[in-house]
């Protein structure tokens, strides 16, 4: 379990803070290595909160986000990463070529 803390308004999502990964390559790797059950639990927790998350984070310019807000943003980006698992593939991955060969730089 990560030690990331989130803004007070979103402390209910603290349980899933291991998804607060700032780098896209880490979010990709985590998705590939997480069970469908855990992905689904994370997705179900985030979906009802995502509008509020965007509204909350949009109050500031990106460059002014503090550490807790950046963690929250990373969790939202992880939701996008896993959304396809539920909304398209019914699996942690599409199974297409190259998950092990692809090198994400940014």
């Amino acid at each position: 379990m990560s030690t990331a803390t989130l803004p007070a308004e979103f402390r209910d999502l603290e349980y899933f803070s291991e998804w607060a990964l700032a780098q896209r390559k880490d979010r990709f790797k985590k998705r590939l290595n997480t069970s469908m059950e855990q992905i689904t639990a994370f997705y179900n927790a985030m979906v009802p909160r995502i509008d509020a998350i965007v509204k909350y984070l949009n109050q500031k310019p990106l460059k002014d986000l503090n550490t807790a807000e950046k963690s929250l943003l990373s969790m939202a980006l992880s939701l996008i990463e896993v959304s396809r698992c539920i909304e398209r593939w019914n699996a942690p991955d599409s199974g297409a070529f190259g998950a092990d060969k692809l090198v994400i730089e940014l």
């Binding site: 896209r24 979010r27 990709f28 997705y43 979906v47 995502i50 509008d51 965007v54 984070l57 949009n58 310019p61 990106l62 986000l65 807000e69 943003l73 939202a76 980006l77 939701l79 996008i80 990463e81 959304s83 396809r84 909304e87 398209r88 593939w89 599409s94 297409a96 070529f97 190259g98 998950a99 060969k101 692809l102 090198v103 994400i104 730089e105 940014l106």
Partner: protein
Amino acid sequence: MDMKTDMRYEARYGMGTDPLSTEDCISPAYFAQEKERLFKRAWLCVGREDDVPEIGSYLVKDIAVLNTSIIVVRDKTNKINAFHNICTHRLNKIMQPGTGKAKAFTCQFHGWAFGLDGKLIHLSNENLFANFSHEKSGLPKIHADVWKGFIFINVAAQPKQTLQEFLGEMGKQYDNYFEGMELRGKWHIEVECNWKLFLDANTEAYHAPTLHAKSLAGPIADAENPDCRFNDVRLFGKSRIGSVYANPNYKPPLIEGKTALYAKTPLYPATSAVTDKLPAGVNPSKSPMWAFDVSVIFPNLQVATANGWYLMFLYWPLSESRTLMEVRNYMYKAETAGDLISQEFPAVHQRDVLREDMSTLEGTQQMLYSGVLKEMNLCDEEITVRHNHVSVAQFMAED
């Protein structure tokens, strides 16, 4: 969409309908010719100005098909220079691949140092060299020029054409489209296939309903256009634009749909009506049912252009049967978290769609080697494939 005009691109461009030989994808002799007659004579994109944003910023790249390593640098006059990454002393490779910033390029072997303009500015023990000339000892220069922020090089001693001449009419299709967007993603992959097969796979669309059934068919095919036929194909010399249809009634699933709403400009799929504000080469037929374009600037730069984002692909042959593909996402500047969250969907989903595109490549390359069949059968929608192979052969045959 009028499905009755079945041979429209043959009617317009007359490229022919014969099967196409696949020898150019497996022959080591052909690949050797491509090295000498194509890659060492053409203008090749190696990056963008945003790779070298400040004076002294540099980009170092190993380019196997040119048998060299290059340094691209922004000098004190703000000019982009390119050099072979080789010390004129004992020919050591000076810099390691990557990006950075420097006041000079210093060889770690004996400390020879070269300025941002390539001139030799320091060496020790000059008095021990007989007949030494500073002037003749600068970094070997490579012709370099910039188009719409894309940095091109040409390793020919005297390129036959300027970059502008080389780009021809294709270079006039984009106005300021590529300005004002920032790098949002970057990744690369090596695949066991010929570079032209790779390019073929990523620049036609009618495989979408089958190959992309899981991830892309919904947005770009429907009852009106079940085969995902191009809205249009435009050929400009050896370069080309293929414009991809968008299903105007596509209903995205929950989070995918929400991300479009968080954006300043709807991103993906881009069924935006603001096509009249985009230049000639972007959605060339100005269709309201437009997703994006798949376009190739000859020989190996692909851009997938859309409203508010584009992808940039470079295909680097490592051999006749192995290719390095570099991919970048460029998107409009993100000012809020909502922008970033919205942009994340295309950034990750395009990557995973491209993995589907790559799924056929190694199998195809393997079966080409069987020699059992030696020709592809191409349909009218695959004019982009035909044009790819024919353009390469044409350039190689030209003076």
